[in-house]
Subunit: 327 residues, 2 copies
Amino acid sequence: VPTAIGVDIGGTKVLAVGVDTDAPLAVLAEHRVPTPSGDATKILDAIASATRVVAGALAAAGRPAEVVGMGIPGLVDTSGRLRAAPNLLGLVGVEIPPRLEALIDLPTVVDNDANCALWAEVIVGAGAGARDAVLVTLGTGIGGALVNGGVLRHGRHGFAGEPGHMVVDPSGPECPCGRSGCWERFASGSGLAMLARRAVEAGRSPAILELVGGDVAAVDGEHVVAAARAADPGALAVVDEFAWWLALGIANLVNALDPELVLVGGGLADESDLFLARTREEVGRMALGASARTGTRIEAATLGSRAGAIGAALVAATPRGVGPGVP
Amino acid sequence: VPTAIGVDIGGTKVLAVGVDTDAPLAVLAEHRVPTPSGDATKILDAIASATRVVAGALAAAGRPAEVVGMGIPGLVDTSGRLRAAPNLLGLVGVEIPPRLEALIDLPTVVDNDANCALWAEVIVGAGAGARDAVLVTLGTGIGGALVNGGVLRHGRHGFAGEPGHMVVDPSGPECPCGRSGCWERFASGSGLAMLARRAVEAGRSPAILELVGGDVAAVDGEHVVAAARAADPGALAVVDEFAWWLALGIANLVNALDPELVLVGGGLADESDLFLARTREEVGRMALGASARTGTRIEAATLGSRAGAIGAALVAATPRGVGPGVP
């Protein structure tokens, strides 16, 4: 399939891109609409409208799209039905491909958004050529995806790659998932904010407290980043603590999977210069037989906010994520 | 390869079996020797001696062995060098295949013991036909192995499948690996003993205390099992706590990998009637989107103490664990 449309559906916006799947980084067309609140019909209409704009642009350029891929932040089963999605409740339970195909008249493939992002990174990004890779996306929570033996892995139901809800401290903070101490309580954007609030409450970061005008509850990850970039020692200590928690979960994944590459993506990847070196160092201490693991790389993802949309197009062009040349 | 020898090397004994790889459960010959303490030469001599006995028996039966497979409790790298093995320190650093081949004159393949056991279970045991399976072996520690897409997965260095050192409680007990709160501190044989000692110290299981004649330090997993089988409420509560910790780690693996099958093997698998139903129930509560995971089975391994040796023969017959019919 030469030309494909990729759509990344988030809690706040829908991004559609049109790409030449042989050269996907040169995005041919792009359109963004807000994600409506409300029921499935409204959300699907918004997705269809963004997709139609891109389809029209591609057709006008003489490069009509042949397939549509879609990345969704949630558990997508093997039939394309969304089974869980805390930020897209209106779509939960909906078998998306037939509904979309009725609206846009193009074959549609749906996958988890982090799966799409990893597939893009493995084909044309930071993971180019990697056969055993793990992506962890650091946003409000932690998403994830696995490539193993060169193939994007979906598992039995399509749900593989959800390390964010790995429990790493059963006496830790409650998680909306119903358990306590999930990894994403510590090593995501909201985890960074939680660690910062604890530090501020303990009087360990007056600089952050000042940024929020004394309102501890208002502390979020951006305040930590700003204070750390201003070299505030308290904020830097919070970032180190965050790096340690990130390392703890990555070391757990390294022990389980022994990947050649762990990619750190999501919004916080833009700040990875603040924490990734420390995380690497800690994983080097934590992983079993670390001195023999000379081939494990931990890197920031490089495709940024369009990784999911570009990857969705590539997933649609290579169904179930079986890449070119991979048996 | 029709006839192969499989060797399972443990901290206390070496078990060699000769099998028809088309019908591996009908073991054709078997021999056991103690694992000597001491250096690599002594250990390799013991392995060679057990292997020669089985090779002789197979030759006498007109079924000469063509390859030898070996399962080792430790991190085995892709060249067959043992990189870490707490119970076989004498062999650490040794590239085993050439050393063995010099002694027994048969091509030799070395892999992690749990990898071998899972491969046997997937070919002829509880996992027959499973394409996405995880094994956790509950012994002194927790070993593990992964089959994904029908292929035994080794990862970048050969170390894939070590969930025992997944940290699940950073403020938990220290682990010999140098970290704290590894899963195997709670959900292995020694974890069961630790949970029991805590219960006894808190006065929650007088029956276990009686079994050890008042010596709390002497409590081990077998006392818990004996007291639980005698329906002691304190021991049953310890077993339930153990089942919960086992479920916590399994749910973490289910979230990460979405396997169709989780097999519980190792010595404690013989007692799985005591805890596995409870573990299943807890995983059903803990795994993300549990109600949509209708295809996840959690079962006891069935090949028992010969799984590792039989599996080693099968791994040698199917190099790097690529099964028949799997691309």
